[in-house]
Amino acid sequence: MTRVETQDRRQQAPRRSLTRRLWRAAPPGLRQPLGLVAALVAAAWLVICLIGPVIAPHDPLAQELPRFTPPGEIAFLGTDELGRDLLSRILAGARVTIGLSLLLVCLSMLIGSVLGLLAGFFGRWVDETIMRFTDLVLAFPTVILAMVTAAALGASLFNAVLAALVVSWPPYARVVRSIVLGLRGNDFVFSGRLLGFSAARSIRVDILPNTLGPTLVLASLDIGTAALLLSGLSFLGLGAKPPTPEWGSMVSAAVSHFDKWWLGVFPGLAILTVVMSFNFIGDALRDALDPGVERR
């Protein structure tokens, strides 16, 4: 508590240019230098997703360089145990990890929202069944359940996404359900029903638009988690199969060659920067909209 002895000086309202106003409209989290950096990093990775293989100096699968070359002139980030160029593999791997993470987030948002909507809107046994199922999924630590599911399905990238999907929809279902429950008691939804609008119309017009904001914030925070989960499954050998340039499985190659530090460090840094930038953006969005998704 500062007690400053100053006279009441009314400041003049500063004049604001257009750029300044745009700046103020952006989520506060992104207005700091670090937020800007995060946005730029995320954008850069998205670009690499699109053009990665084109700008890669080598074929990510070709075993054409000396094995275990340290970073240097021959290969900027070194080569792996089969003589493949690490930089090229990381660039090509962006598509796999980021692309699948985005896909995973979209799918879990879709499935979770639908289930949450059904639970919240129809209530009773529908709600009871869906929510008990949600509880059951949440009763396992996520990576463990994903690992178990992926192992049962068999190791492949597709199955890894499927397994990750099994564990990542519940938060969406919970958030959407609670919003729907809140809205269902609201007058405007009730009056719509009184006017004889169908359940479908009520959902489409009155409810869906209101669930969009919070789910999108949740999704933006979830991209990083999805990337960590998928690369983790691949690290365990339950995702990408050997020649595929996937960051998690690239790190796992370093387990048996930990003295060759570059094998693990660079793909790991790729994961870290992707996850961090998306987390930062999601965080800024959440602060801006604050739908209270942090509360369970």
Binding site: R10, Q11, A13
Partner: protein, 293 residues
């Protein structure tokens, strides 16, 4: 005439924000004498609560304060840190609006009644508990040690506010700041709490700064009434004079909009009929539920 227990002298306060300084209080001056209830009334947002909080140094963050708050020759605005802590709770007690939120739900009543007593008066646990039981007796919540081992949610709203008053008075402060102490209570319980405050003023010689938006409550409990608007005191005077012959147009406006006041209280005479120790307070369940946020 002796010096007032609390003298607020040309207190101004502004909050520093992105758009410069927003003025909240403007040259507020008030005297609260011993054995006297100084009322401070006004609409919400008029700055009356902030006035009360500023006295004990709990003004909002980024506030810039000027003026003086005198107590026994000390300017409270010049005091900071542990010296300020020594004033709070010990020389000035404070009662907040809603006892449902101002008492910690997870701490026993006894703990909340004794921790500041032990800190301020440097007494042991046993003596603090004795004082706490005595303080509870004084506000009409008996039951002694048994009451001390209960949690706030086990009491009705009126009793919770009595406990909050007991906490505020446990260290025998000279001044009590009561910020809307009856607003969150059921109408039927309000009168009892008001009668309690009045009887404490009369028996202990307490100086009370009583903040409320409810002029009916004000007319029942206050000796002097100040009317606040937009952070400024527009009228301050004897209760009878302010209510019967208001000098300021705004006061007249307020009085005109006064409906049949809370609990049917309109005057000190009404209050005198109320038992301050709660016999009129029903023990019905749910009366403690919050009636205002």
């Amino acid at each position: 005439m002796t010096a007032p227990a609390l003298r607020i002298e040309s207190l101004s306060l502004g909050i520093r924000g992105e758009d410069g300084l927003t003025p909240i209080l403007d040259q507020v001056s008030l005297d609260v004498g011993r054995g006297e209830v100084q009322g401070l009334a006004g609409e919400s947002g008029s700055g009356k609560t902030i006035t009360g909080l500023t006295v004990i140094g709990l003004e909002p963050a980024k506030s810039e304060v000027t003026g003086h708050i005198w107590m026994d020759g000390d300017d409270l605005l010049k005091i900071t840190g542990s010296a300020l802590n020594a004033v709070r709770g010990s020389r000035v007690g404070m009662v907040f609006q809603d006892p449902g939120t101002s008492l910690h739900p997870q701490l026993k009543v006894g703990a909340q009644l004794t921790d500041h007593v032990r800190y301020h008066l440097k007494v042991g646990k046993g003596e603090a508990l004795d004082r706490a039981a005595a303080a509870l007796d004084r506000v009409g919540v008996g039951g002694g040690r048994d009451t001390l081992s209960r949690y706030p949610h086990e009491f009705s709203g009126g009793q919770r506010q009595r406990i909050a008053i007991a906490i505020a008075l446990a260290c025998d402060p000279a001044v009590l700041i009561a910020d809307e102490p009856t607003t969150a209570l059921d109408v039927t319980v309000q009168a009892g709490v008001l009668a309690l405050i009045r009887s404490l003023v009369d028996s202990l010689g307490l100086a009370v700064l009583f903040i409320t938006h409810d002029l009916g409550v004000m007319s029942a409990v206050a000796d002097r009434v100040a009317i606040m608007r937009h952070g400024r005191i527009v009228e301050n005077g004897d209760r009878r004079q302010v209510f019967t012959a208001p000098a300021h147009a705004y006061t007249r406006e307020l009085l005109a909009s006064l409906p049949g006041a809370a609990g049917g209280l309109r005057s000190r005479e009404d209050l005198a009929r109320i038992d301050p120790f709660g016999a009129g307070e029903g023990s019905g369940e749910g009366q403690g539920e919050r009636s205002a946020p």
